[in-house]
Amino acid sequence: MLRSLSKFFAIIWQSPSGRVSLVICGICVGIAVFGPLLAPYGPTERIYDDAGKLVRLSPPTLDHWLGTTLLGRDVMSQMLWGARPALIIGVLTALGTVIIGVNIGLLAGYLGGHVDNFLMRLTDIFLGLPFLPFIIVLLSLTGQNIWTIIFAMMIVMWRSTARIVRAEVLSLRERQFIAAAKTTGASDFDIIYKEIAPNIMPFALVGVTFALAWAIITEASIGFLGFGDPNVVSWGTIIYDAYASQMMYRAPWWVVPPGIAIMILVTSVYFIGRAYEEVVNPRIKQAG
């Protein structure tokens, strides 16, 4: 596990675009960890000027580098606070998605027969499921907080990983080392998790990066539609606040930064995934 991870970073570091992307992601992780310490104000703190007046919709100034919101909050501080939920939700969703997807793909591909039929039918059904609409309905019924959002994304997103992993297991299953393991009397469980699973790692890692990119955008979309966790400021909910206040077109400094942050982060995640994919598996094209 650790070895594949260090190999993962080594491979990405070889390509120039991968290197730049890794640095950008590193910066984003840094902001997620230390951002709240660097932020001059709290994410929902209202700022008053010397005369005791609320500093509403101030354009960028030296005090407020990215201006303030309608409720007198500092956009720069919100941006620094907002990285953490975006990344936590993204990373947890990506990991969960891939864990579910890899397991379903392993079981379907290795066991074959009725199990395979059932699991693949299930995957097809999920592939036909309208992604965002389903998540919105689910969130409106379960309530909205970080955990329900992660859960809602996870139970839909595993579908593409499952398919790719299954296809790979189908070909691995016929290899000699599997037959060798069988003759030594290894159980199905051992063969799946000790022999086949390690060979799936590269696919799982590619899956994680693409799922991460997709999860960050989806989290922002959920936030934008007003289904984000109301107690958490994330990049998506900053855009939603601007949109809901109907001031977005008068205060570009409020809407532009969170979008750019998402764009830069997700772009670099995509480039990392691609740099890795090109080396490990030039054949597959994963979409989401």
Partner: protein, 323 residues
């Protein structure tokens, strides 16, 4: 071929059946009483019961489920909690509005994406290629609603070229009819969401076509064609591009599904009265019959798109075996 068609249609129907079942039980079994908005808990118990009976909620769960399935087949989506009118009557126009926005922009995006992707791969290693790959990846990584907001900010507010949202100017067409969809006013409103959608949807076919072309160009038959002295243009269009189209066709259903499902955000930004916006509004009003109907229709569009593309793929690629 016929068997293939039957099998795919059967799968599509099965998918829809499972989805509508999941929808039914999600609303009934998850916490939060969806009926609380119409049947106020403050009413007398007798009145509550009477209302429940009116909506058919007094029957056992399984019987409700059977009635629900029968009604779906009959395209009866119940009565909106909000307008108290039949849902089916309100939803037809929304469906058309979503389709007129999504379908043309998808087709245009696919055509442009495939063509530009092929060209860029043909002249590989150019500066333009690197720049376009970066731009396409960045666009793909941009939340589409934010792209829409920027477009409104720039083209509508700054330059005053397009309306800020909606499908026609208020009061122009009291009723949606063919005349409305053919009017200049409608096209004027369509232009901006259309362009944003094209810009967003363009990335995927572009990147895919480029990478497929790059591997096709390395194939032996391209080399052979060169040696036979086939003109370059002909190699590009007839040999390389044609053979690189297949992955585009396989991914089309998935992308169509994303586009329809993604209409939720783009319609919200542009206040475009389609299914997606209807669903978001209905969720906000706890108007569950409408939410259900809108969701299922979006699902039907997605599944129908998948089916269509599957069949198309079967026709395009003779190597496919129909088992």
């Amino acid at each position: 071929m016929r068997q293939f068609l039957i099998k795919r249609t059967w799968h599509a129907l099965l998918t829809l059946f499972v989805m509508s079942t999941v929808m039914f039980f999600m609303f009934r079994l998850l916490p939060g009483d969806p009926t609380a908005t119409v049947i106020s808990p403050a009413l007398y118990p007798k009145a509550q019961e009477a209302l429940k009976a009116q909506f058919g909620l007094d029957k056992p769960l399984f019987e409700q489920y059977l009635i629900y399935l029968r009604n779906l087949v009959l395209l009866d989506f119940g009565i909106s909690f909000h307008t108290l009118r039949p849902v089916a009557g309100e939803i037809g126009n929304r469906l058309i509005n979503t389709l007129v926005l999504i379908l043309p922009s998808m087709i245009v995006a696919y055509a442009i994406g495939a063509f530009v992707g092929a060209m860029v791969a043909w002249k590989r290693g150019s500066k333009l290629e690197g720049a376009l790959v970066l731009i396409a990846t960045a666009l793909q990584s941009t939340p589409v609603f934010w792209l829409g907001m920027l477009a409104i900010l720039f083209f509508s507010i700054r330059l005053d070229l397009f309306p800020v949202g909606h499908i026609v100017s208020p009061g122009m067409f009291p009723e949606a009819n063919l005349q409305m969809y053919l009017s200049l006013d409608f096209l004027h409103h369509l232009a901006l969401p259309f362009m944003v959608n094209v810009a967003y949807q363009f990335c995927f076919p572009f990147l895919l076509m480029r990478s497929t072309m790059l591997s096709t160009i390395g194939e032996d038959y391209i080399e052979l064609a060169r040696m036979k002295g086939v003109p370059e243009k002909r190699i590009l269009y007839h040999h390389a591009m044609r053979n690189s189209m297949l992955p585009l066709a396989t991914t089309l259903p998935m992308i169509l599904g994303w586009a329809v499902a993604g209409s939720v955000v783009i319609e919200t930004v542009f206040s475009w009265p389609g299914l997606g916006l209807l669903m978001v509004e209905a969720v906000g009003r706890s108007d569950y019959p409408v939410v259900q109907a809108a969701f299922l229709l979006i699902a039907v569009l997605t599944v129908a798109g998948t089916l269509f593309a599957d069949v198309l793929y079967g026709i395009l690629d003779p190597r496919i075996t129909y088992q």
